[in-house]
Symmetry: D2
Subunit: 263 residues, 4 copies
Amino acid sequence: MVARVASLLASLGCDIRAAEVYGDADTGSFFGRTEFDSPIGLESVCNKFFPLAQDLRLDWDMKDLDRKVRVLIAVSKFGHCLVDLINKQELGQLPIEIVGVVSNHEVMRKTVEWHGLPYHHLPMSEGKEAQEARFIEIIHETGAELTVLARYMQILSDAFSVALAGRCINIHHSFLPSFKGAKPYHQAHVRGVKLIGATAHFVTGDLDEGPIIEQDARRVDHAATASDMIAIGREIEASVLSRAVGWYAEHRIIQNGNKTVVF
Amino acid sequence: MVARVASLLASLGCDIRAAEVYGDADTGSFFGRTEFDSPIGLESVCNKFFPLAQDLRLDWDMKDLDRKVRVLIAVSKFGHCLVDLINKQELGQLPIEIVGVVSNHEVMRKTVEWHGLPYHHLPMSEGKEAQEARFIEIIHETGAELTVLARYMQILSDAFSVALAGRCINIHHSFLPSFKGAKPYHQAHVRGVKLIGATAHFVTGDLDEGPIIEQDARRVDHAATASDMIAIGREIEASVLSRAVGWYAEHRIIQNGNKTVVF
Amino acid sequence: MVARVASLLASLGCDIRAAEVYGDADTGSFFGRTEFDSPIGLESVCNKFFPLAQDLRLDWDMKDLDRKVRVLIAVSKFGHCLVDLINKQELGQLPIEIVGVVSNHEVMRKTVEWHGLPYHHLPMSEGKEAQEARFIEIIHETGAELTVLARYMQILSDAFSVALAGRCINIHHSFLPSFKGAKPYHQAHVRGVKLIGATAHFVTGDLDEGPIIEQDARRVDHAATASDMIAIGREIEASVLSRAVGWYAEHRIIQNGNKTVVF
Amino acid sequence: MVARVASLLASLGCDIRAAEVYGDADTGSFFGRTEFDSPIGLESVCNKFFPLAQDLRLDWDMKDLDRKVRVLIAVSKFGHCLVDLINKQELGQLPIEIVGVVSNHEVMRKTVEWHGLPYHHLPMSEGKEAQEARFIEIIHETGAELTVLARYMQILSDAFSVALAGRCINIHHSFLPSFKGAKPYHQAHVRGVKLIGATAHFVTGDLDEGPIIEQDARRVDHAATASDMIAIGREIEASVLSRAVGWYAEHRIIQNGNKTVVF
C-alpha cells in the first residue's frame, strides 16, 4: 500500500516532503499521512488517486495545506482558551481561520469584537433545542469545518454530538478519565492529587468519553487550593487545546475507534 | 502555636534548621514540621515538649533523623521497584534500613539474598488469612515501622489495611484516580490516553483510594502498545515510590484526612 | 531566631498563617518568610519588630499582602509575555497593579491601550542614554516597585542594571546558562537539543547571568525548526515569567548571592 | 525516492510495518527509516536494494531487527546507569546483548559478574595510551557494535573518539550545552538553576559537543544541595541513557551533521 501510494504520487510529479505510517496490531488497521508538493492541482491528484484508493479500499482524504481550516469557537464565561487560540492565530502559529465565536453569554463579546471577529450570542433561555439548532445553523453559514469548545460549559445533546462527529474538539479541564463531569478541579482538590491536567478530545455522545487527542499535566502540592488549581489549569488547558487544534488544522489526527493517531 | 513551639525549642538550646507550616483553610487544621539540632537527647526534648503539646492539643510526634526507619518490602513477581529501593538504599540516597522482603512468589529470592537481605516466601496457597497473619508476624518480628508494597499484587484484607493504617505505602501503576484496579496499563491503552502515570499512596481499606503521597506521569503516543506502557511505567513507578518512601523516612508526610501534606 | 520572631508576632496578637525557613549550609545564611494576620497596622508591627531585627542582625522587610505590587512592563515587538501578564492580572491570578508599559516600538500600543493601560514609546533613536534616563523617570513617576522585561530586546547599561538591582526581572528565551545572548532558539536549533526552555532571572550588569528565579523546559524533536521552537517557546516564556512575577508580588523571592530562595 | 524504495520492497514481497521520513530544509538532506517483514533473507533484500540505492545515491544500511545489537558498557565507580541497562536488558526492554563491561576500577566487578557478564578491569595505571589500546582490543574481541559510556569518567583521546565515531554513546550528567566538563551538578548548584538534566550524545573528539540523542530535566529548588542534585540526577541519567541505547538498538537514530534524527 505504501509502495503503491508513493509510486502514484511520484508518477504525478509530486514531491513527498513527509510521510508516516502506523499499523495498529490490535485491530489490523493501518494508518498513514503523506505530505507532498504537487505540480498539478489538488483536484487532479484526487482524481488520479481515486481508483487506487478504491482498489486498496482506503478510507482517505486529501487536503490543501495552504488553505486554512475554518474554525468556529464556542465559549461560555471563561475566555482564556479562546483568547489563546485568537492570539496564536494572529501570531501565525495556528493555520486556521477563525470564522466566529458562539457563546451562551455576553462576557467575551467585547474582546472578540476587538479582534475583529463575529460574536454570536446564543442564550440558553431560548431552550436547549432551539439554541443548538441556531448553533448548527451558524456552523453551516460560516462554513466551519471544525468547532472548538473552548470552555463551553453546556452539555451537548446526542443529536448535536453525532452531527459534529470528528469535527468538534472539546477541552476538558482534567486529566481524563479522572474527574469527568462538573468541577474537575474541585474533585481533584478533594481527592488530593499531586498532578492536575487537561484533555483535548473529540466530542461524542458520551460526555468526556470521546477519543483523546492531547493531554498534559503539571505538579501541584498540598498547599494548592481549588482556586490555585483553576489558575494553574488555565495554562494547561490553553496549551493542550491549541496543540490539538493545530494538529487538526495540519490534518495530523486520524480517529482509530475511540482513540486517535496523531502523526 | 508556632511561637510557643519555637520558643520552647529555643529555651532547650535547640537549633532550628528547617521549619514549615501549612493551614488547611477547608478544615481549619494546621500542620507543621520542624527540624532541629538538640544538645539534649530526644527523650528529654519529648518530655519537655509533652505539656506544651497537651496544652496546644497537638497531634504530634518527634523522631530522631539519624535513626533510619525500618522498612519491610513486599513484592510479587515484578522486582523493578524493589531493586530500585535496594539500590538507592545502598547508595545512601534513602535513609532507611531494609529489614527484609516478603513475597508470595520465589522469583525475587536470588536477587534479594545476593543483596544480603532476608527473604520471606509467603505463598497464597496457605490461604489468604494465614498468609496475612504470617505477614503481620514478620512485621512484628522485624520491627518494621513501614511496609512498602512494591508491586505486591495481592488485595489486602480490611483487617490488614486497618492494622497498617498510615504505616503502609503502595505503588499503583496508574495516575489515580484513573484506572483503579487490575491491569491499569491495559486500561490506559484501551482508553488511548496520551500520558501514563503512577501513584504512591497510603494503603486503606478502600482499594486504590488511600491518601496520595506522590504521582508522576510521562508522555506516550498512539504507537505505544500496552507492553511499551508497562516498560515506560516501570521507571515512573520506581521513581514515584522511592520519593514517597524517602519522604516517609524523613518524616515529611502528614495525613490530612484522605489527603497528605508533604513538607 | 525563629523562636524570637514567632514569639514577638504572637505577643502582638498576630496569627501566623504560613512560615518557611531555609539555611544555606554553604554560606551559613539563614532565610525565612512568615505570613501572618495582624490586629494592628503594618507600621505598628514594623516598629515593634525593628529592635528585635536589629538585635538579631536581620536583613528584613515587611509587606502588606493586600497591597498590590506596582509593576511596569517593558516590551519590544513580541507581545506574548506582556499579553499573558495583562490577562492573568485581569483574571485576578496575579496580585499586581500594572502601572504602564514601556516600549522601544509602537507595535503593542493598540493592545495595551485597549486594556486601559498607559503606553510609553521610548524609541532608541533618541540615543541609549537619553532613552534609559526617560525609562528611569517613568519608573519614578509611576512608582513602579518592579520592572518586568517581557521580551524587551535591548541590552541595558550597567548603570540601569545597578539602579534596578533586585527590582527588575527579565525573561530569557533559553534554558540558562545554555544559549546566552542573541537568538537563543536559533542557537538551540543549530546545537540540536531535545528540550528547549526559558529562564526568568533578576537583571544584573552581567547579561543573562543574574540570579535565576524560575525555569521550565519542553521537548522538541529533530523536525522542529527554529520557528517551531520560537512558537513552542512562547508558552514556556509566558508561563515562567508569570510565575516569577507572581512570586515576587507575593514576596516569596529572596536573593541569596547569585541565587534565589523561593518560598 | 520514497516511492522507489517502497516499490522495490513491495516487489520483493516485503510488508512495510512502519515508515517515517524527514527532510532537513536547512541542508537539503532527506532521511528515512522503513521497518518491514520480508519473505526472503536480509542479504537477498540488500542485494536487490543495492543498485537502487546507488542510483538514488543513498547513504543507507539495512539491519535485522531480530538480531540484538552487541553492546559493550564502560563504567568507572558509579554504577547506576550500568545497573539500569543490565536490568532493562534482563527484563526484555532493551533489544541488546551486553557482551561485557570495561572499567578503570574494580568497584562494579561483583555486581557485573553476579549478572553473568564478563568484567574487564583496565586500570589507568598502565598509561592512557596502553589502556585505550586494550579497550579497543576488547571492542574487537567481543564484536561490540556499540560502546556505551555509562558514567565512564575518563576523557577519551581523539584517536579513540574518531575510531568509535557513531558507535559510542556517552551520558553527560547535565543538560548540555550547560555545564560541560567536570562536576556538572556542582556547577549547576553554584549557578542556582531550577532544573537539572542529563544528555545522551554520540562521542566525538570535542568533549561534550557530540550530536545529542536524548535529554531530560527535572525540577529542583533552592534547598537542593549538590548531593541532592546528584541523587535526583541518577534517575534522569539512567532514564535518558537507556532510551538512547534502546533507540540505537532499534536503529532509529541517524546522524545529521552534529545533530540527530530519531525516528
